[in-house]
């Protein structure tokens, strides 16, 4: 792995720079640290980091940019008429990449010499069989133009790697030389190093923005692709969800949104009363001992991974409900067809959200000033009257915020609904029927063999973007409400 060696060489060079820089600084000060502007370690760090960081940054950018650049070049090289029917440019390109990787592997393992690999001709050799021998399986025979492209790919990659190594090495050596030459007892090494470190810190902090931009852009591009294949009016306002991988599918978000909201509603119906009463009891009634035991225990529920809840829904709650409401069940009714239903997913999700609601409301109730309670109790109100008429109205905006946050969690929750809610998209009020949600459909459209040119796959990105906007909106609203409420008492 040449890149790994390059990085190791860079690190070694940087370590060498550290030692050299420190020595030179000490020399220029005549061995007396007091004559130096900065501590000796900063002179070493200055040389070491100047040698390492720019080179490393260029290396990283190069590693990401080179494959894209080469890919574009090669992709332009393949004429459109050579792309077979029922295939796409992407598929041909992935063939090219695989053949190129196979040839590289063959050279590495010694099955082919470098020149033999470069001179392979698809017309003369059965490349597929040759690569098959070393364990590279190809889906079809290698066509001449694919092999040519693969050869070009390898050539350009090799050239690119050489140039990259040279550039990076020059940059590192140059950085080392310049900073070494600058090292002198009066040089303000500490200031320079600190500025460099600050730049790194800023870079790390801006990664958060980069992630958001990445999320939005990646989904936006694919969503635009989707809308060029499928009408947006139909997506947002149609009423049928019927994907069909042979094409001509009806893809509308409304039935999915209905399922999502219905399940979230049931989850909140479970979580809000239980969570709120638990919070009230813990903050207003419970003794310190009860509180210190019950609160962490309840919060365990929040720490359990969602896959566990999903399994609980699928294998325990679902069959339990089916045992009551399905055919041949305890109640002798036939309201449920299978174990998956809105109720199954909603109840289990509600359990998951109990601690979420309770600890958020607990914080908010605790933030209500004690003087307000004392005032109410002093007028002769009972505790429950104080809670209902003084504490809760004061805490209401915060509690609404907490419920909105819980709702956003419920809407974005995936594993419980994937395992417990079912896969049928429909509008129905019956909580015992199985319905499907946005997240469930994202998972099912994007797992397995996916073709990124079909609307059936791309619809997942449009669904994802809608989900993102929906949860983001709820969060911003909730945070706004909570923040506004806090200002009243601070």
């Amino acid at each position: 792995m040449p890149t790994l060696w390059l990085v190791i060489a860079l690190l070694a060079l940087s370590a060498l720079g550290f030692v050299l820089g420190r020595q030179r600084a000490m020399q220029s000060a005549g061995g007396d640290t007091r004559a130096l502007h900065s501590l000796p370690i900063y002179y070493g760090l200055n040389v070491g980091l100047t040698a390492l960081l720019p080179a490393l940054a260029v290396l990283l950018v190069w590693l990401f940019a080179q494959p894209m650049f080469i890919e574009n070049q090669i992709s332009d090289m393949i004429p459109a008429e050579l792309i077979p029917e029922n295939s796409t440019r992407d598929l041909v390109m992935s063939d090219v990449r695989r053949v190129a990787a196979g040839l590289d592997l063959a050279v590495e393992q010694g099955a082919l010499t470098e020149t033999a690999a470069a001179n392979l001709r698809a017309e003369l050799t059965d490349v597929r069989a040759r690569l098959g021998e070393i364990g590279v399986a190809l889906g079809s025979d290698v066509r001449p133009e694919v092999l040519d492209a693969a050869q070009e790919y390898r050539k350009m990659t090799a050239t690119g790697n050489t140039v990259m190594t040279i550039v990076v090495a020059l940059l590192a050596l140059g950085g080392l030389a310049v900073s070494y030459a600058r090292t002198h007892k009066d040089y303000r090494a500490r200031n320079v190093v600190e500025q460099g470190v600050l730049a790194l810190l800023i870079l790390a902090a801006s990664l958060a923005i980069l992630t958001t931009v990445g999320i939005v852009l990646s989904m936006l591009f694919e969503t635009m692709n989707f809308f060029s294949l499928h009408q947006w009016v139909d997506f947002f306002f149609g009423t049928t969800w019927a994907p069909n991988f042979r094409g001509d599918s009806e893809l509308s978000i409304l039935p999915l949104l209905w399922g999502t909201l219905y399940i979230s509603f049931i989850a909140l119906l479970v979580a809000v009363p239980v969570g709120l009463f638990a919070a009230i009891y813990l903050s207003e009634y419970a003794s310190n001992t009860t509180r210190s035991i019950a609160k962490p225990l309840l919060e365990i529920l929040a720490g359990i991974p969602t896959i566990v809840y999903g399994l609980f829904a699928l294998l325990t709650v679902g069959p339990l409900l089916a045992g009551m409401f399905a055919k041949g069940g305890l109640l002798g009714v036939e309201w449920m067809a299978g174990a998956t239903s809105v109720l199954t997913a909603g109840v289990v999700m509600g359990i998951m959200l109990i601690p979420f609601v309770s600890s958020l409301s607990d914080d908010i109730i605790n933030a209500v000033p004690q003087t307000m309670r004392d005032g109410s109790l002093g007028l002769g109100a009972t505790r429950s009257e104080t809670v209902r008429q003084v504490v809760l109205p004061a805490a209401l905006p915060g509690i609404v915020g907490a419920v909105l946050l819980a709702a956003s969690r419920a809407i974005g929750e995936t594993m419980i609904v994937v395992m417990g809610a079912g896969a049928i998209a429909k509008f129905s009020l019956n909580p015992l029927e199985s319905m499907t949600t946005i997240t469930t459909r994202i998972v099912s459209q994007l797992t397995g063999d996916t073709d990124f040119a079909s609307p059936e796959t791309l619809v997942a990105f449009a669904l994802g973007l809608t989900l993102f906007v929906l949860t983001l909106g709820l969060n911003v609203l909730a945070l706004y409400i909570v923040r506004k409420y806090r200002e009243q008492y601070e």
Binding site: Y285, G303, P305, I307, G310, I351, T414
Partner: protein, 451 residues
């Protein structure tokens, strides 16, 4: 101000009565009070009951996965079947497929029955069916590893078929197999005979913890081991990336950032990222890392990158809280003796905040360990890896699964024998999570400083 007590229309209280006996209104209010308190207690009880039910379900259903039914047989490794040429040439031995080994198992049953003096009406073919489909492969592997043993009789411990295992664990009964083609009542009778003779035994199954996943047909051979390794590599990636980046970002935001719109945007961004549904991160990973950068599908590296992005906000938020809790006097003292701002942060504030940062990181890692949804999108599900990776690069780049994804995969399969595995897998996952959280709590208790 009018003085109400002096006003002539003052009426005596409607409920004039003894102060010693509560008035009807008071009784009503006290009842309401008790009811209200009761609701609170009931809510807590419901929450705790759910926790109890969950834990009980997991343990009672999952514990079965840790024992497995084995059958001990003496197999004669016939030269005539395995090495017809008799020259112990490994290439010739490898040519014998698992089908060639099946008769050996049949013979082993015959000898065993003869030795024990048992009688059965079951045909030899049906007798051999109570053994797992992996038994022939197990034999073949052994013979290829030890070609010298051909011609000798060796004692093997084979897995039994998952139906037999289910019968031993009470999951399968004579009534429930009426429509089941893979086992018959006669075979169960045969199993009873062998159990009585001590040939079939249920013992602890280390392979479930250390082994690899197995195909749909062999639930008895499936294990968590390889997916655990996949999770481990993902956590390494998360730790290596999220901790330094998260700490660096927090230091900047908490100690250096000027109050301006850019800082505001970053802060709002981080709090929003913490609430973005995890599946959105999966979409990001699929679009950016796999489609755009062409990183390998199903690789723990990609999973780790996605989980890093997901964990970063958690780590940043907890790191900022612990940096904030270091009192300003520490910074002032450092600055006072001539340290630069950077030195005061790195030499004094950061070490003092370290326990809090560590705690936050462990909790973030625990969260990432249990996350499933994004992994589904980048292809870390399915029957993927049958061998543990042998090096760091193959561990990061070759396809693998992760613990929660493996559990999901088992829960999806049709055979109920896999459900037991899924619950068992959850026990392992929860053991990891509980350990990590306990360590975090202990660290916090041990090193927390009140200023």
């Amino acid at each position: 101000m009018t003085d109400h007590s002096q006003s002539p229309d003052t009426q005596p209280s409607k409920h004039a009565g003894s102060l010693l006996s509560p008035s009807p209104g008071t009784i009503k209010r006290n009842r309401a009070e008790a009811r209200f308190k009761g609701y609170g207690i009931a809510a807590i009880a419901v929450g705790l009951l759910m926790l109890l039910v969950l834990v009980f379900t997991i343990v009672s259903k999952g514990v079965g996965a840790y024992t497995q039914t084995f059958i001990t047989l003496d197999v004669e490794l016939l030269e005539s079947k395995l090495d017809k040429k008799g020259n112990r040439n490994l290439d010739d031995i490898k040519k014998v497929t698992t089908f060639g080994y099946a008769p050996l198992i049949k013979n082993a049953f015959a000898t065993k029955l003869e030795e024990l003096g048992l009688e059965t009406d079951l045909k030899a073919k049906d007798q051999a069916k109570i053994v797992s489909k992996s038994a022939a492969a197990q034999l073949r592997e052994y013979v290829i590893a030890n070609p010298d043993m051909i011609g000798k009789t060796v004692t093997f411990k084979f897995l039994t078929n998952s139906r037999v295992d289910g019968y031993m664990k009470g999951r399968v009964s004579r009534e429930s197999i009426a429509k089941d083609k893979s086992i018959s009542v006669a075979q169960l009778d045969f199993v009873d005979q062998l159990v009585a003779a001590g040939v079939i035994k249920k013992t602890f199954n280390l392979d479930f913890i250390l082994g690899a996943d197995a195909s749909d047909q062999r639930p008895e051979a499936a294990g968590m081991g390889v997916s655990m390794v996949g999770s481990l590599f993902m956590m390494l990636v998360v730790l290596a990336l999220a901790l330094p980046i998260g700490v660096a970002a927090s230091i900047y935001l908490e100690e250096f950032a000027p109050q301006n719109w850019l800082t505001d945007i970053i802060e709002v961004n981080i709090s929003n990222l913490a609430a973005v549904p995890s599946i959105v991160f999966g979409i990001l990973g699929l679009a950016v890392f796999i489609n755009y950068m062409h990183l390998p599908t199903s690789a723990p590296l990609v999973g780790g990158l996605v989980l890093t992005l997901m964990t970063l906000p958690t780590i940043i938020i907890s790191t900022r809280a612990s940096l904030k809790s270091v009192p300003p006097s520490i910074r002032d003292a450092a600055l006072g003796v001539g340290a630069s701002k950077m030195q005061s942060v790195f030499h004094h504030v950061l070490p003092l905040a370290a326990p809090g940062i560590l705690t936050g990181t462990i909790i973030g890692l625990a969260q990432a360990l249990g996350e499933t949804a994004p992994l589904l999108l980048i292809g870390m599900v399915g029957f993927i890896a049958s061998n543990a990776p042998d090096s760091l690069s193959s561990g990061l780049l070759s396809p693998n699964s992760a613990m929660p994804a493996q559990i999901y995969e088992w829960a999806k399969r049709a055979d109920p024998a896999f459900y037991e595995r899924a619950w068992g897998g959850i026990i392992i996952l929860l053991v990891f999570l509980v350990t990590m959280n306990t360590v975090a709590v202990i660290l916090r208790r041990r090193f927390e400083r009140r200023w």
